[in-house]
Subunit: 161 residues, 2 copies
DNA sequence: GCATATCTGGATAGTAAACATCCGGATATG
DNA sequence: CATATCCGGATGTTTACTATCCAGATATGC
């Protein structure tokens, strides 16, 4: 059980766009080149970010993607939900009611909640809260704190992270 | 991204064994029958629980599985780690250093930590703490709180949940 | 208007992981 | 010895993830 690469791709790409600074749209091909990613596939992830309102896309020549909001206004949870969807980490299959012996609940349902599902849900809520508490600006700040040599960022050629 | 069914199977099976009460080992076939699960596959999950020290197995005729410790001493995290392994939810592919443009780190590595990985790791820690804070006894209590009719539990034929 | 560059979305294919079954070997019961 | 069961490896099935490709729409610049 683990998150897909899309999350990593998306966060780094959003940070790259912020580093670039100007509001000029950047095409997928250049964003992909920064980290040697598949342009076609990265594009699919970016489309998800557009749908979620984190990016704006500009079609046509000289088009591309640009941030829809500042990094301060984007949480890690926003990115994860945009890329992975908002399905729960734990999907309760309700096996408790499928038994040949245990409780029989009419197909309609209307039973009390499954305690296992509730417990897993509490943990997922903690995960989401922790993700929501961290903005991309925080992540950028942390990355920079480890890299005091700000001058080493390659502007125009893209920095790293 | 989601947890496998093994977690749900394992938790319900552990609760079933606790409801049974006596220390007699219960064979996989009966445990599987309670929830209409595949006996062969459930057995694989139970083997993981044995390795993790949550269950004891008894080979031979009249053999089966029994709890290795009381529910109070087993956390939801114990079960999740036993079944799913302790790989991180987010696996950092270190794409930040793979770029043709960005930072070049000698293959040896020795760079500062990836801030994206750190942020995701914090969220996972919150998830694990929330799981560790809930014991199977808590889950059982919550299930029973919703089902005041204790007498409805089918002893000998297994209750539900 | 036209050639070019780019996003959009669907179709498709490849790969990895999860899910599930089967079987031979070991162990214990009676 | 016949039976019941756990154990672990081999194998097959299904699902999700990863990745590619192409036709269509849109915008730029000449």
């Amino acid at each position: 059980m683990r998150t897909g690469k899309g999350v990593e791709w998306a966060v780094h790409t959003l940070l790259n766009l912020a580093w670039l600074g100007d509001g000029e749209p950047v095409p997928t091909a250049r964003l992909a080149a920064v980290h040697d990613l598949s342009a076609s596939y990265l594009n699919k992830q970016l489309q998800q970010l557009v749908k979620a309102g984190l990016l704006e896309s500009v079609p046509g020549a000289r088009g591309g993607f640009r941030l829809a909001r500042p990094l301060e206004a984007v949480s890690m949870l926003d990115v994860v939900l945009a890329v992975e969807g908002d399905d729960p980490l734990f999907r309760c299959a309700e096996i408790r009611r499928c038994g040949t012996i245990g409780e029989r609940v009419p197909a309609g349902g209307f039973s009390r909640p499954c305690a296992v599902n509730t417990a897993m849900g509490r943990a997922e809520l903690a995960w989401r809260k922790a993700l929501a508490a961290q903005s991309l600006a925080d992540v950028r700040a942390e990355a920079e704190a480890h890299a005091p040599a700000v001058g080493s960022y390659v502007r125009g050629g893209f920095g790293r992270d």
